[in-house]
């Protein structure tokens, strides 16, 4: 019951607090749609919903170090995931330092409050991806594009995806887009939440950025950033992490973040910055 009270308050206040971020996210997705048009040279009417969605989480193919193929940092991909991480960073930290601490005390349960924060993060991430889907869908409808999850033949080349030569499996693409990416994003943001409560918001965000950077440079299944890249999804391209493996790894990280982060939070202190001075 306490958990639901905390969650209701967080959802209401968090959504009020985040609406500008969702507008910023929508603008970023529109920008990425425009960039895709410029990069592919394909008219909007020939692009499908799937093209836009894949471009939001395309990433970059595994780096093979050589003089001929310099590393290209996936800036568009990083921008999307750094934005969603930033969105989910501040509200729980501010709440913990302010009204949230008050509610936690009068409500009487640290564990329930922690679980409410975790649930809030998951809801905020899902709303972020819902925003992405809504923007892509709206643009497809406006530009008379195809509403399927088909991928234009120019897209893999432009997005640096090393393809097998066979057409994309739409079922695998759906699993990647609607399960793999949201689940991996939730894991990353929950990991950030756990670190930010244990060591401060900057340490939390630094963890996120580190995971994203390392994932861009190294193709390792345990680096969950790999599960967020279409260019490294082995169900879609030549090599990488399968959607199933990505989901398992994301769930492991998610559970670890919730359990270990919760244990640390329940044992930790709730202090203000000035507490050493009075």
């Amino acid at each position: 019951m306490r958990y639901l009270c905390y969650l209701a308050c967080d959802v209401r206040e968090g959504c009020l607090c985040l609406w500008r971020w969702y507008v910023a996210a929508a603008l970023l997705f529109l920008l990425l749609i425009g960039a895709l048009r410029l990069m592919t040279g394909v008219p909007f009417s020939e692009l499908a919903l799937g093209d836009y969605l894949v471009s939001f989480a395309s990433g970059v193919r595994e780096q093979v170090y050589s003089a001929e193929e310099p590393f290209r940092f996936p800036a568009r991909w990083a921008a999307v995931f750094m934005l969603v991480s930033c969105m989910t960073l501040w509200f729980p930290c501010r709440s913990r330092a302010k009204m949230g601490a008050h509610l936690m005390v009068v409500g009487g349960s640290r564990r329930a409050w922690w679980l409410a924060q975790c649930t809030w993060v998951v809801i905020a991430v899902l709303l972020f991806w819902l925003t992405a889907f809504a923007v892509a869908l709206a643009w497809t409808l406006v530009s008379s594009g195809d509403l399927s999850l088909g991928i234009h033949e120019r897209l893999p080349e432009v997005l640096q995806m090393r393809i097998t030569g066979e057409p994309f499996d739409e079922a695998a693409l759906s699993a990647f887009l609607f399960a793999g990416v949201p689940c991996a994003t939730c894991s990353l943001c929950l990991l950030q939440l756990a670190v930010s409560f244990a060591a401060g918001p900057l340490a939390g965000y630094a963890t996120t950025v580190s995971v994203l950077l390392l994932s861009a440079f190294c193709m390792r299944p345990w680096l969950i950033g790999n599960a967020m890249m279409a260019a490294r999804c082995s169900d879609l391209v030549f090599a990488g992490v399968s959607v199933a493996d990505g989901l398992v790894m994301s769930l492991v990280v998610l559970l670890l973040a919730v359990v270990v982060g919760g244990a640390l939070f329940c044992r930790g202190d709730l202090l203000d910055r000035g507490d050493l001075h009075d």
Partner: protein, 230 residues
């Protein structure tokens, strides 16, 4: 009611509470005096369950904090700067606190009505207008302090922790605070009050503990009725 036993807390190598022992019977009003950095706020935080002690324990109503319960079962607190939701009015903030603190079904319309009634009563008690539509962010310092006080005494909890409650209050606000202290005594709430204002503590507290460097300085204890230290 409250039993503090060998409470010790260290933060980044500094001992902020050093072997504090204190017993407060139910219904007593206890004052904490001391200079800045002496450990008054940290002791209040320990009593509220906000910090985990390195040694010793705090027991409230027979339940050990951080072991049997996370926080005291019926508590109101005003510790340092009152923190509320900036985008809500004072009444809305108090209603949310009352709902979360309520033992009944928070979703029922009856619980919501009760929470609103409690919020209105608490606002009137501290001299704030329940129909004021201003958001918390627009409040003056004094209004924020009054709202913090209202949140602490809303529903007359059994334990009330107040840290510098008269900060930023005008004369009328201080007078209201004095009335509220009287009401808390009448209703049998246990109050721990930290303040720099020695006269305020002397007027209201049964016992005033002088805190120095995280310790209770025995020589400066001014005993009154109803409480004792160990």
């Amino acid at each position: 009611m409250i039993d503090v036993h060998d409470a010790t807390k260290r933060i980044k190598g500094a001992t902020v509470l050093d072997c504090v022992n204190m017993t407060v019977p139910a219904g007593a009003i206890v004052g904490l005096a001391g200079v800045n950095g002496s450990g008054k706020t940290m002791l209040l935080r320990a009593l509220a369950g906000l910090i985990k002690l390195d040694e010793g324990f705090v027991e409230i109503e027979g339940k050990r904090l951080r072991e049997d319960v996370d926080f005291p079962p019926s508590i109101g607190l005003l510790i340092e700067n009152p923190a509320f939701l900036d985008s809500r009015t004072g009444r809305e903030n108090l209603r949310i606190i009352a709902l979360v603190g309520s033992s009944s079904q928070a979703w029922s319309s009856r619980a919501k009505e009760q929470a609103d009634d409690a919020a209105v009563q608490a606002l009137e008690l501290v001299g704030l207008d329940p129909d004021d539509k201003r958001k918390f962010r627009k409040y003056s310092l004094g209004m924020k302090q009054r709202l913090g006080l209202a949140a602490a005494v809303m529903g007359w909890p059994r334990l009330v922790l107040l840290d510098e409650p008269t900060n930023a209050l005008d004369r009328a606000g201080v007078a209201r605070f004095e009335d509220i202290m009287g009401m808390l005594r009448e209703r049998g709430s246990t109050v721990v009050l930290a303040s720099h204002d020695a006269s305020l503590l002397e007027r209201h507290a049964d016992v005033v503990y002088l805190i120095e460097s995280g310790r209770i300085a025995d020589a400066d204890i001014m005993p009154r009725k109803g409480a004792s230290h160990a």
